[in-house]
Amino acid sequence: MAGAAVAVHKPAKWVLTKDHGFHPVARVKEAWRYRRLVAFFASQAFSSLYKKTQLGILWVPLRPLVPLLIGTVVYGGLMNIPSTGVPYFLLLTVGFLAWNCFDGPWMWGSRGFELNRDLITKLYFPRMILPLSTMVPGFVEPTVNLAVALTAFIYYRVHEGVWYIQWGPRLLLAPLFLLAILFLAFSLALATSLYQVRARDVRFIIGYFLGFWMYLTPVIYPVTLIPLQWRWLVWFNPMAPLVEEFKAAIFGFPRPPAWALPLALCEIAVVFAAAFWHFHVMESHTADKV
């Protein structure tokens, strides 16, 4: 028994020392050691999604369906947005699938510190884990969208006899674009979660910001709707090439210009580096000022 206890604790490995300077690799390694906390914080945040409701967990798949239905009626029906050869419902569902990997995870990740306000003043753990793990409730909407999209693809196959999916090696790239989007959401959440714990304003601002950002990204409309002389401008928004590449990989649409994707990835790398460094500078401060 005693031997087992010693083996479990490994005391030397868990000594807390003052952190001098900026060691990004050590930071990430440390976060990896505490990886089991991710599941804990994630499940806590997830259960807050439907706490104190009568329908309980049923709300989780129900809520993302409403924007899809409303969007199809308003954008596809009333506004008659063209959908370049695929049913508008599919275009919207696939567009939302990519976009919801961004807005939900960013909004939720941004609440990491705020939701665990009591714990951060009492315990030490790598704070980076908080925005990372509270992103999890944001995965619900993309998952539901994915299920809806798959059902719709099969429906159209059965009724119209057409696979709107472009089967091919490019399809394998589609999840990678979603990962890049998630990574951008995480980078932004790293930076904003620090401020949100002190000022709830941040949440309102992000909400409005995302509203406008979505219309600047080809989510509800195909990028060909933008006049050709302005289209190059769209690609400077890092979300635009990623969403468009994702749609191209699934539907086989023409791809954005070759320079657009590398540019977006560089932008994301810059945002991540800045956010990570900022997080390093601010995190100890923030824990004291909560």
Binding site: L55, W59, R63, A199, F204, Y215
Partner: protein, 294 residues
């Protein structure tokens, strides 16, 4: 409470006024009681506000800024990108006036749904006629309305200066606006009586109402004029009292496109009926709750 009324303090009447006695049944006694406790409206309204913008840096400033974002977004999407028609009135003004009536309805409804849930602590600690809670939590919606009115006046002045015409005609037709506002209040209170009881224990009420209000918004001619509704659907508008109220509210401002009086009357009847049903339901539920606590 008697100490807060210095002019009446110490006199036997004032003591009698605030003594605890069994609740008198009946709608008139309840209405009188609500009037007696009217100062709670201020208190609870202020409390709702504080909760809304607690722990923000801008604090009160959000009250001014927040109502403008949705309007600007709709202006961008439906006015600029879609180019919606608006019966000869600049789209921005058309949208602002429709939004004035709608936003008051929507935010008042969302707030009154939260009335009992937000102030549960208050009713656990002191006696307040419960019906005051959904009424008092509507206060933030009233403020939003006033902000929107101010912005609308600025927009009118802007068009007056640039186009030489204010587009607005205030006169006897403005009574339509006043009447539809009163009916909107009645409709909101009626629905709020049901949803606040539901929302006291279940967050489902908030989720459901949030989605319902969104769908309702699209079915109400706010973003588009009534004339844009396809002819075969026009007859169904009668089922949506908000369509009649928003239409009448706009007529009160612009003096063009008078509303269908029959449809308005049916809308008014629905609004008053919902309020009556809501009050009866709420009184019945309150009685159960209050006896359960005692």
């Amino acid at each position: 409470m008697s100490a807060a009324r210095p002019q009446a303090a110490g006199t036997p009447q004032s003591l009698a006024l605030w003594s605890n006695e069994p609740k008198r049944p009946g709608p008139i006694a309840t209405a009188m009681e609500v009037w007696q406790y009217r100062r709670f409206v201020n208190f609870l309204g202020a409390k709702s506000f504080r909760k809304l913008y607690a722990r923000t840096i801008l604090g009160w400033t959000w009250v001014l800024v927040a109502p403008l974002f949705p309007v600007l977004m709709n202006l961008l999407v439906f006015g600029v990108l879609v180019g919606m028609t608006s019966e000869g009135i600049p789209y921005f003004l058309f949208l602002m006036v429709g939004n004035l009536a709608w936003e008051f309805f929507a935010s008042a409804l969302m707030w009154s749904t939260r009335g009992l849930e937000m102030h549960r602590k208050v009713i656990d600690q002191v006696y307040v006629p419960r019906v005051i809670l959904p009424i008092a939590t509507m206060t933030p919606a009233v403020f939003t309305f006033l902000i929107n009115v101010t912005v609308t006046v600025c927009v009118v002045i802007y068009y007056w200066v640039t186009d030489g015409t204010p587009y607005v005609s205030i006169g006897w037709n403005t009574l339509w606006s006043v009447a539809s506002l009163a009916l909107i209040v009645s409709l909101v209170l009626g629905i709020g009586m049901f949803t606040s009881v539901w929302g006291e224990t279940a967050r489902d009420a908030r989720f459901t109402m949030g989605n319902a209000v969104l769908i309702w918004f699209l079915m109400t001619p706010v973003l588009y004029p009534t004339s844009q509704v396809p002819v075969e659907y026009q007859k169904w508008l009668v089922l949506n009292p908000m369509a009649s109220f928003v239409e009448a509210f706009k007529y009160g401002f612009f003096g063009t496109n008078p509303p269908d009086p029959m449809r308005f009357a049916i809308g008014a009847a629905i609004a008053v009926g919902v309020l009556a049903a809501g009050l009866v339901f709420f009184a019945w539920r309150s009685e159960i709750e209050e006896t359960a606590v005692a």
